[in-house]
Symmetry: C2
Subunit: 433 residues, 2 copies
Amino acid sequence: MTIAIGIIGLGTVGSGTVKIIFENQSLIKKRLGCPLLIKKIAVRDPSLPRLVQVPDTLLTTEVESLFRDPEIKIVVELIGGLEPARTFILEAIKAGKHVVTANKAVLAEHGQEIFKAARDAGVDVAFEAAVGGGIPIIKTLKESLAGNRILSLTGIINGTCNYILTRMTEENITFEEALLQAQKEGYAEADPSLDIDGLDAAHKLAILTTLAYGTEVSLNDIYVEGIRDIEPTDIAFAREFGFVTKLLAMCRETETGLEVRVLPTLIPEKHVLASVRMAYNAFYIRGDAVGDVLLYGLGAGQLPTGSAVVSDIIDIARNILTGGSGRVPPLSYQLSNLVRLPIKPMEEITCRYYFRFSVLDRPGVLSKIAGILGENNISIASVIQKGREEGGPVPIVMLTHEAKEASVRQALKEIDQLDVVTAPTKLLRIEKP
Amino acid sequence: MTIAIGIIGLGTVGSGTVKIIFENQSLIKKRLGCPLLIKKIAVRDPSLPRLVQVPDTLLTTEVESLFRDPEIKIVVELIGGLEPARTFILEAIKAGKHVVTANKAVLAEHGQEIFKAARDAGVDVAFEAAVGGGIPIIKTLKESLAGNRILSLTGIINGTCNYILTRMTEENITFEEALLQAQKEGYAEADPSLDIDGLDAAHKLAILTTLAYGTEVSLNDIYVEGIRDIEPTDIAFAREFGFVTKLLAMCRETETGLEVRVLPTLIPEKHVLASVRMAYNAFYIRGDAVGDVLLYGLGAGQLPTGSAVVSDIIDIARNILTGGSGRVPPLSYQLSNLVRLPIKPMEEITCRYYFRFSVLDRPGVLSKIAGILGENNISIASVIQKGREEGGPVPIVMLTHEAKEASVRQALKEIDQLDVVTAPTKLLRIEKP
């Protein structure tokens, strides 16, 4: 017996997947009990150079030939983007093929349609590679923590942002300089906005929140801020207070509702997430039974992402060899048990805050600011006021105790209108995951 | 449909398992698609007080009644130790029950017998809870990394030792003082030798090595040193060189064979494993495709270990609901593909070394020591010589470049016979996982 697969797309992840299956063929057979056979690879242009050597006979430009081939049991979609990926996935399902994909965008936007079609057709759809590259976060949430109520999930889930913030932190360079480095090193695209504005993280967080809480999440429900406006001076002040600046994606159950957001955030420097440097990703999960668990690794790249694709292929092959499909529901909860929990508006969340006020160095300024904060029920935990230019602007940096976002916004609005305030106040949230 | 289970043992892990199933019953049903029912719990003395409230009607002293009950599909062995655990597991298998166990000792000693019986009976045996508490290390090796050649696995896999070493490091106290604290806090047994002498770690490492490399490993093959002889002064000197002292369990493929050992080891303080403090465990895995992955969490305790047991129960329930057993081979490789790879003798390994010589403060001592090291092909990377008592003993601390264990032993034998050497040289290995 052999499990035959068809792959759509031979870009970075496709090449990694093929390379792993070729090189570790005999090892995979010893584990799975039978070989994996790549029968066809659909590409747009067979003459293009590739990252992996593939016999010409495997390549085809006709995607439909994969769906028509009765030997192919698993179709692996690795072209990314919304269309034609969505159509290919749905056609594969209709043809009775199981599907493996690394496509977080298509799942975040069309997941419902895809998973319902798969259920009706009695096939599996697996997507470990869509979040966290080779880190087994999807399987861990769906299987290893299946007995747990998930209290919170906090992740560093965008390698580009973490790379930029790490270099800004360790070399005291600006965002623009760090971004340029990231582009040079291949960690950021020419157009980096999907990453640095937080949308990539939001796509992934939408999927993770569904897996953790059994709730459908649309991107609009997720409050997102990227890292474009982070300045080295804030990273440096935060360090003086013992905090590290990270782009955190977080979902959390609270007594007053579900919180889901992507934000640049200060975390204590001794927290294990603070040690996640450069392009590494990490997921910090708190379960009611398991306590705190961290998964850490490379969240992107040809081979790490290929590793996740291959593990999904093997997983489905095991289902084919021993029984039916639908063994583990694709979104962790049975589709019939998925709900739509309300997500708490950002204004209602509470956390600690970091403020950097830009003020004129005049008597009474601090008391004015403190007064407005007090009126808005925001209590100050510590203050640094440094340097002074006679009559010129100086920074006052402040950490608060727990406060409500709405109060903070109201207070900053009032403070930023003071005539001694020379620039909009910088604001960062502080969390202890 | 309901999946009925029987549990043997209602100690720490048993209580945790029952608590999780009771409290998260409806959540588990939403994920699994049907409820888990605890039908019987076998205990020695039903009148004993328990960590969880259980209806009297569930308790029985007759273990055999679980095997005879046709409704019970899964038997969960949580009494630990070799016998009668082994017998109960084999009887359950013979009765056609799937088995979940948290018992690393019985697997390390009788795994072969148990897994072959399970294969012949067509039932599953799962044991996520046997290593790393709630951390999904077993599933990650067997499933998520199934496409990878494992290059190395390095773990902090004994919480008691890590707790003791952390307190010694952070508070500069002796081993004895830290052990006492560990016992007070419930992190060490009254007789702590299984933990502190490294045998518990060796049991776990034997299992992990089999999963990673498809090789049978006996405990005798594993070179083990515990942490009894670690002194605060060595921990402090190591820190001056930028290293942290951890009890590491490691298996690794090298060109000259498989290395498997448990040793107190110095690792660079910036390595992510160095930040694993107190009773936390961590597994650092290097795969040829996935790169470096870390899994981190609580390696013991009622609820974390119960979390792993429940995930195994759910896993098997899913097999029962959708198909056959034997979906994933219990030892990652198909039983017929298990081999017995030779393990490299400790004398043949190479690594960097930390030495602390106790010598009389006389001219020419360092040159004598350096001479012997040189004759044995051991090259010195750095030296600290501190303090001096006129004519009295002083420590000389030295780090080497890569050297061979056999050469090191020979050199230290010669050095320790010098009349200027006042005490046996302290030796620690240095690794960069």
